[in-house]
Symmetry: C2
């Protein structure tokens, strides 16, 4: 593990809300996002407790020099792509400097705290935008449990050989919080006829995505050992899925309209550096699985290419909202259960010469584990709607209903380290439009 002072679990911030054990954003995290505050154009900031560090304001206050200043200048932009495209040492220098400025026993605490009104804005006063411009979104199928449950226990032939994936639609990505409109489409009704109308089996998928930092040129694969330098950070992803549309359209080319009505990306990007303390070993290969090809096998990746991140999905129904009930956690899984590591996904993705661009996303696929409550989409959790999940207020859900809100969360926790979170990826279901108009 490459740990440094920014990971020190003893470090606390003078931004008091960051020291709460429940905060997603302690001083050890410092994730990047694009925020909008007042009339100023959207720009990059860093989360600390319930505040956002306005990097443009910090630059104006001359708090940065060298690499940290260059990184901060790259953040004064409507996307994080300029920052992501820099070599990793730049974001790392900015992280180190911010940690120093924000710690409660820092030498410059007084200077900074005095200007806090200028340098920090309240999250509650901001709206968040898409963190990056995404050229391509590739969604993988990395959970062996999800794969088996979605195919009656069968694994695809290639599952043990390579991380299976498909191109998803980058241009219908929206930042978490954007409502999702129930799609219309063709699906097979229970009586076997094909109908066109509002999707009856609307689902979500709890996923984690990596944001590509520096890309590679077409024709120049990224060796597995170099992949970590190309992974800027991690972000929650909700791969909303219309199961009826998807089932009917998917042979032989895979899902398209079953997913292209919208995909939600969380606003905060947790950096690879912040996640260093939570590295863990790659999943063990199943008994009888073939040996990994050399370009997908590396000792360091096997030892620590995986991440220990607890992930949850919560639901708020319209009735719960009326009752002012807390969101009901219906799924608890962990990213470490993925059968392939993100570095392996990157190495495989580029092995044919395919280029990745700064800002591209690679999604894990549904992060499902072996346990019943680790079935990370409704198709799994409710066995395709036949065994509805029970909510605390007695309601049940086989599939999503109009007005339901889905909240994805994730949190890296390990004894001896301060837990860091990923914020939320929210989306509320709105009714289908009447289509086609008659």
């Amino acid at each position: 593990m490459r740990l440094n002072d920014t990971h020190d679990p003893a470090r606390r911030s003078w931004v008091e809300s960051a020291n709460s054990p429940d905060s997603d954003f302690p001083i050890q995290n410092l994730p990047f996002g694009i925020f909008r505050h007042g009339a100023v154009p959207p720009r990059g900031g860093v989360a600390i407790g319930d505040k956002i560090v306005d990097l443009a304001a910090c630059l104006a206050a001359e708090l940065f020099t060298g690499d940290a200043a260059e990184a901060a200048r790259a953040c004064v932009a409507p996307t994080l792509n300029p920052l992501m495209s820099l070599p990793p040492r730049f974001a790392s220098s900015l992280r180190a400097r911010l940690s120093e400025l924000l710690r409660d026993d820092g030498q410059e605490r007084d200077i900074v705290e005095k200007q806090a009104d200028k340098l920090l804005v309240a999250m509650a006063d901001c709206t968040m935008e898409m963190p990056s411009a995404v050229g391509s979104l590739t969604d993988f199928l990395c959970s062996i449990h999800h794969s088996r449950r979605m195919a009656n226990g069968q694994l695809p032939d290639a599952f043990h050989y390579l991380p299976i994936s498909h191109h998803a639609r980058a241009t219908s990505l929206r930042v978490g919080g954007t409502p999702v409109i129930r799609p219309n489409g063709q699906y097979k009704a229970p009586d076997g006829t094909i109908k066109f109308g509002p999707e009856p089996s609307l689902d979500f998928e709890l996923e984690m995505a990596i944001c590509v930092g520096r890309g590679n040129k077409l024709g120049e694969p990224i060796p597995l050992t170099e992949t970590p330098e190309h992974i800027f950070g991690y972000c929650l992803l909700n791969d909303w899925s219309a199961r009826g549309i998807q089932a009917w359209e998917s042979r032989p080319l895979g899902p398209v309209l079953g997913k292209s009505f919208m995909t939600s990306l969380a606003p905060w990007v947790v950096t690879s550096e912040a996640l260093e303390p939570f590295r863990t070993a790659a999943q063990e290969r199943e008994k009888g699985a073939p040996a990994l090809f050399p370009h997908l096998l590396d000792a360091a990746d096997q030892e620590s290419g995986n991440l220990d991140v607890a992930m949850t999905t919560s639901l708020v129904t319209p009735r719960m909202r009326e009752e002012k009930a807390a969101p009901a956690v219906i799924i608890r899984s962990n990213l470490r259960d993925m059968y392939w590591t993100f570095p392996q996904m990157v190495a495989h993705h580029t092995s044919n010469g395919c280029n990745l661009q700064t800002g591209d996303l690679l999604g894990s696929g549904t992060v499902s584990g072996a346990a019943d409550d680790a079935r990370a989409c409704l198709a799994e959790l409710t066995v395709r709607g036949t065994q509805p999940v029970k909510l605390p207020n007695g309601e049940t859900r086989g599939w999503l209903q109009d007005g339901d809100e889905v909240i994805l969360r994730a949190r890296a926790e390990r004894p001896g380290h301060v837990a860091i979170g990923f914020g939320e990826c929210r989306g509320r279901v709105e009714p289908a439009i009447q289509w086609p108009a008659r």
Copy 2:
């Protein structure tokens, strides 16, 4: 048919090369592209014979006013997206004005011809760039013949109900002429073992794509009757395919690495307006096919939503290049054989609320017909490499070999009209890189 003076078959140009019956670019065509000439940044131009009209130079010479001027100003950019995003009347005004300036009996011929050295550049002195920035590339499977041949005579269940498609990779699109590097990847060898190495079954696919003009907002489907306003133009596409990689990776999510090593787009975009004289009826539904859903059925689309465009694929092998032999035409097909019209593809694509952006591409899929020489990829033409195609010099090809160059061409021809062409979409195969490095 909405024909106007620009379609007049009697019209000829003072640019003599445009009047040759073999020219792809007579005065009735006037396609748009992005060219690079000398040290000036790439910008928009219009093809006429063997020349390119430099729209920036025409603006400087004050040859345009009103909508035509606004369209020309939009072309002074490194992509055609600004032009494509305007309402169709702008490109149409520019076309009308250019036709007037370039015709041999125009009232302003003398003024323009005198400045020809400034206004026109020789195609031979230019390199062409990608015509547009492509946010998303969707590739369809619209040939019933291709579908059946690729699946042992079986059609996918949904084939008659909707135009099947998949998301392809927009960020590995390159302009025609860019070499294609044979990809490495996993494939099943004849003995049934899985190998990693250079793709043994490299193929191309002869396709046509539409370039989306104005887009639609997420959640707002485009009715079939309005789709023509969203189709800016048409462009040749080569969907290079690594058949071994594709076959092994494709279940259950479709092809990814079998195609993502590169996709070639031709440099010239033929406008919808230029193709008006070549409209033809939609393909008849097969006997017993289900009725079309209302959002995919419109009388005008059935009557004239299809296009009569002859398409060919030619091959040049390294030996042919040495022998200075002409490219060998190995495939002759026609776009009118597609089972779905482009308007139907757009209506289906957006029926779930999916947004299209200006510059997005929708590919037809392999344009194969019923005839043996209309099998528009090698997998079909050579029956998966088992019946190699014979070339004029006695060579044969089951799949592409290193050094082979593939040339796609297309031409709209109809009695009583001047034929217009799409230029070429070329690509030469380069050897695989040694990967992984040992």
